[in-house]
């Protein structure tokens, strides 16, 4: 093997390893970049009892787009999005959309305090003690929001505070 080719191959292998390591360290480990395994799949059925005592299930909202939001009272980003989600609920629920908020890893008292403080009025329920609903949806952190279309398929997942535009674009398209 010629010396120049050997040196080139050596550099090529080292560069490839360094680039792969750099990508893994700085890009691939960003949870925002990790695609949800749930997107494009049928949303898993669940049942819950709201803080007001109403029994709800995803099944009963079949044929309507659903904004399924996972939140917790101790989560800072949940405070940022609380009024955005509530405003979207006020606007789109009369048009046929469904807003469900599932509180995870939270105490009932803290969740209720958060609901009162931010004036949340849509369907709000606690997950069970082992987080059955959040684990079924592959939730990685709060807030996390799943956009479920009229056919019951998960169209998208937003990690972090959801924006007004994301909700509006999705629901306007679904409620045409």
């Amino acid at each position: 093997m010629n010396r120049k080719l050997a040196i080139f191959l050596g550099f090529f292998v080292i560069a490839a390893v360094l680039i792969t390591m750099g990508y893994g360290l700085f890009f691939a480990s960003d949870p925002n970049e990790i695609p949800s395994a749930q997107i494009g799949k049928v949303a898993k059925q669940f049942a819950a009892t709201t803080f007001e005592g109403e029994k709800i299930s995803l099944q009963q909202f079949r044929g309507r787009p659903v904004i399924l939001n996972f939140w917790a009272s101790w989560c800072i980003s949940c405070r940022h999005e609380a009024r955005i989600v509530e405003a979207a609920h006020q606007k789109f629920t009369p048009l046929g959309a469904v807003f469900i908020g599932i509180a995870i890893n939270d105490t009932r008292e803290a969740s209720l305090g958060f609901i009162r403080r931010y004036g949340k009025t849509y369907l709000l329920a606690p997950d069970d003690l082992t987080g059955t609903i959040s684990l079924d949806y592959g939730v990685t952190a709060v807030p996390e929001t799943f956009l479920i279309d009229k056919n019951g398929m998960i169209s998208n997942k937003v990690l972090g505070a959801i924006s007004k535009k994301t909700i509006t674009d999705f629901l306007e398209q679904q409620l045409k």
């Binding site: 395994a37 890893n105 082992t130 987080g131 959040s134 684990l135 079924d136 592959g138 990685t140 952190a141």
Partner: protein, 149 residues
Amino acid sequence: MNFKTKYLLIIVSVCFSLHSLYADDLEKRVREISHKLRCPTCQAMSVKDSDAGLSLNMKQRIRELIQEGKTEAEILQFFEERYGEWILRSPKKEGFNLVLWLLPGLITIIAVFLLILSILRRSKQAPSDELSPLSDKEQHQIEEDLDKI
């Protein structure tokens, strides 16, 4: 203490010991399986080492799945279905992932092969013990230098 009480005490002790053994084994299996899963919130850690709320939920779910009689493979599959393959701390040994598993070994083998090849070539190219005859120019230069002495 009468005869019946003694037997009852022995049975209770055996039951208690068996329960402790089962609980220890269950927790050992929970630790083993949770060590193979990535904490979804703090991704540098395993579920076993993490105290994040979601990791605690995952550990509890693993415990329940073991009690339901699920195997380790089925439990890992359960989480993979929901979170995707990244939840597994070791990539599966199939498809493109094989490159990840094989590349380090392959690079080492190629490096060793190239090193041996290089050593063999050098040893072949090494000058022999027999000296090559001097060229006319060299011979002339030597004679000139000797004359100067």
